[in-house]
């Protein structure tokens, strides 16, 4: 068997032997570019970085970056990530999920990671379609979306994941666009330094099943510096600017909301040195 993950101390330190199998033009390339540009600046600490992914086109990203990773199962990025983080709070965790993954199968974990303020970065590759299973509608597909499970058009309105996150107690809520790597990279960097749950919904065109480049290129605007990121009501309002439907006036990208709150891991208080001696414990409590 050939040795096929390069160790990071070699040239092209982040490359693996995996052949990239995304479609030409896929928005995932933009996300990968942004991620790599962030990681490239942190080469020294990559040993304590872990990527966690679900299952879907997006999830292949972990095969393409030579760092620690857990390629988990559909919808379960967050509990795996939470488990890793609470086990070893010194690790930095970035979760990559699809919209099917994060907003469909895994929505329960998303609400709770936000509620608990688990100290993680969570990047949703939101192509608004199930890519890998060949094009069904997802929770953020617009109403009327003709996918393979809804050939006559979906009958459901999408929900707005940013608002859902705000309602769940998230402390960092952002939106990026795969078509703007530099901007996205900066979001990822800020998310990584945010103590607590840092959520980034990334608009990711699916070239094959839902090509939204043109739409986003026209509508996406960067949030201006004046936006008060610590103002919940302002964030709520801004998040309402676009409802993930077919129409949009403008689609703001950037950080909608950011506040500092104790993280779950901080609250899980450091343990006193345990007695750990089961024999002693038995003597104390079981006689």
């Amino acid at each position: 068997m050939k040795e096929n993950i390069k160790s990071r101390h070699q040239k092209h330190g982040l490359e693996t032997s995996a052949v990239n199998t995304w479609c030409k033009g896929c928005g995932n390339f933009g996300i990968l570019t942004a991620l790599k540009s962030v990681l490239a600046k942190r080469e020294d600490t990559l040993g304590s970085l872990v990527l966690v992914s679900g299952i879907g086109c997006h999830a292949k990203i972990v095969d393409y970056v030579a760092v620690n990773s857990f390629y988990s199962i559909h919808g379960r990025v967050l509990p795996v990530a939470c488990g890793i983080k609470t086990a070893n709070p010194r690790l930095t965790i970035i979760g990559h999920a699809g919209d099917g993954d994060a907003y469909g199968e895994g929505i329960s974990h998303l609400v709770f990671a936000a509620k608990r303020n688990n100290d993680l970065v969570f990047i949703v590759h939101n192509n608004r379609v199930y890519g890998l299973t060949t094009g069904q509608f997802t929770p953020t597909s617009p109403k009327g979306f003709k996918g393979r499970s809804t050939p006559k058009g979906s009958i459901e309105e999408p929900f707005n994941p940013l608002r859902l996150m705000l309602a769940s107690g998230a402390t960092f809520v952002a939106r990026g666009y795969a078509g703007k790597h530099a901007h996205l990279a900066s979001l990822i960097e800020q998310a990584m330094v945010h103590p607590g749950f840092a959520f980034i919904d990334v608009l990711q065109p699916c070239f094959t099943f839902y090509n939204t480049y043109k739409f986003y290129n026209e509508k996406v605007v960067e949030i201006r510096d004046e936006h008060p990121v610590d103002d919940f009501d302002a964030a709520w309002k801004l998040a309402g600017k676009w409802d993930y439907g077919l129409e949009a006036d403008q689609i703001p990208i950037g950080i909608f909301y950011r506040i500092r709150k104790d993280t779950y891991e901080e609250e899980l208080l450091p343990k006193e040195t345990p007695s750990l001696d089961v024999a002693l414990h038995l003597k104390r409590h079981h006689f």
Binding site: I5, H9, S69, S108, P274, S275, H281, F287
Partner: protein, 553 residues
Amino acid sequence: MIKKTEFSILFGGKAGDGIRQLGTLWAKLLSRQGYRVFLYDDYPSLIRGGHNFTIVRASSTPVLAHNEVVDLVAAFNQESIERHAKSLKPDGKLLYDADLAETSGIGVPWSSIVGQAKAGKIMRNTAVLASAAKLLAMDWSHLEHTVRSELPKSEKNLEVARLAWEATPEPVFELAETNQEPWPVMYGNEAIALGAVGAGLKSYIAYPMTPASSILHYLAAYSDDLGITVIHPENEIAAVLMAIGSSYAGIPAMVGTSGGGLALMVEAISLSAQSETPLLLVECQRPGPSTGVPTYTMQGDLNFVLNAGHGEFLRVVLAPGDASEAFHLSGLALYLAWKYQIPSFLLSDKHLSESLFCQSIDPGRLPKIEYKAWDAEGRYKRYMVTEDGVSPLAFPGTAGIAVKATSYEHDEFGITTEEPGMIEAMQAKRLAKRPSLNKELDKPELVTVGGNEDSETALITWGSNKGAVLEAAEELSLRYVQPLCLEPFLESRLKSLLSGVSRVITVECNATAPFTNMLKAHGINIDHTIVRYDGRPFSVDGLLAQLKQEVPL
């Protein structure tokens, strides 16, 4: 006074009366005097009201099961009298709250006593404890010591105890002295928790579910002492995946639940197998299918646990029969999960998990987690192909390497593969752990034997039936065999332990006898099968009666 070296008491009342706590106190009171005790707790799925009862059997010799017929019934209310007076031995006595019922027997006005002392109603417990202690001619000092050490507000409790003691007539029974060292008392779930901790557990993640919840409550209560992180997350799916995440990060984790909760973990079990992430799962069975009868007992999930998860992979399933076995097997299950990087199951049930045992336990004999660690040479391959199928482990946080775990079929580095040769090689690698695993488990201590080892009739059973079946075997002078490891199946060892046996009787607490069918499938001939599936566990006397009726012995 009637002299006793063995004594069974039944406390009966409503949920909320504190019947189980009372039983536990009583058990401690007696075990501290060198008695061996066993407590069976019978309660419906409700919070206040209904009918609960707890039987505590104490004996100068070890006991691991209860009898349904008892020496003393202590009744908190009329319903308890009606239900249980008939379970008394001919020389048995009925003790009851004279304020709430009237009948023949020994009435003590516990309710008035509590009122008189201006104590909370729950302190009737203490009054009953005192009355029972007095009837057994116990020293006041024993009672006082237990009340002081176990109860909050001990002055008030002692006042109640004293009043009840005085209001109770003179002793009827006398317990012989044992001159034995006390043994620890613990519920089955406490033994499970402590065994795992002793073996190196660092994290317990669970969503509440009867009869597994008490592991959660116990470890949460002692998390600081024991150095355990305890997490109660949004659901069972999150629990098991967090545990997998924790193990991946190098922190041994366990989950615990009952059948319905385990059902939600099935996808993750398969993930543990494919990603070769160690995982310990405790399943405490209760009568199913589905919600079934939440607070009662059944051994109905054996086949489910043996086969949970899609795809083909190795697992270990250990099934203890008492607290001591639970303690050691819990540690062993964790140890095996790590040594072989596989999912490992500890299979319990309500009867084992929520009964109190009194056994000598030696934490020094627990296995301690060990694993094949990466030697830090060359590039790290998470899934390196080795002769024994076990790849060296490293954890994220190690500089210079990438630890890539995955749910996909993969190459040695953990990169996804779809190549036929690699698919086959990796599946073969994982299954290559089988011979060493089988060998590791083929040990005498993984089959409990007892009774008359020369008998040509054998009673075979598993799990929580142990106490009743072992005692029946002793009583009837039959051979007793109980495998503690159900997967891998210890075929040759069991066959050799059955050599010379001409008649095999199996005992299971379920309807379709899956364990019996497993024995048959491995070519072991079964002559009779005793089952019980009304939600109640086997008692010694109940089983003896059933054996008598169903099997021509």
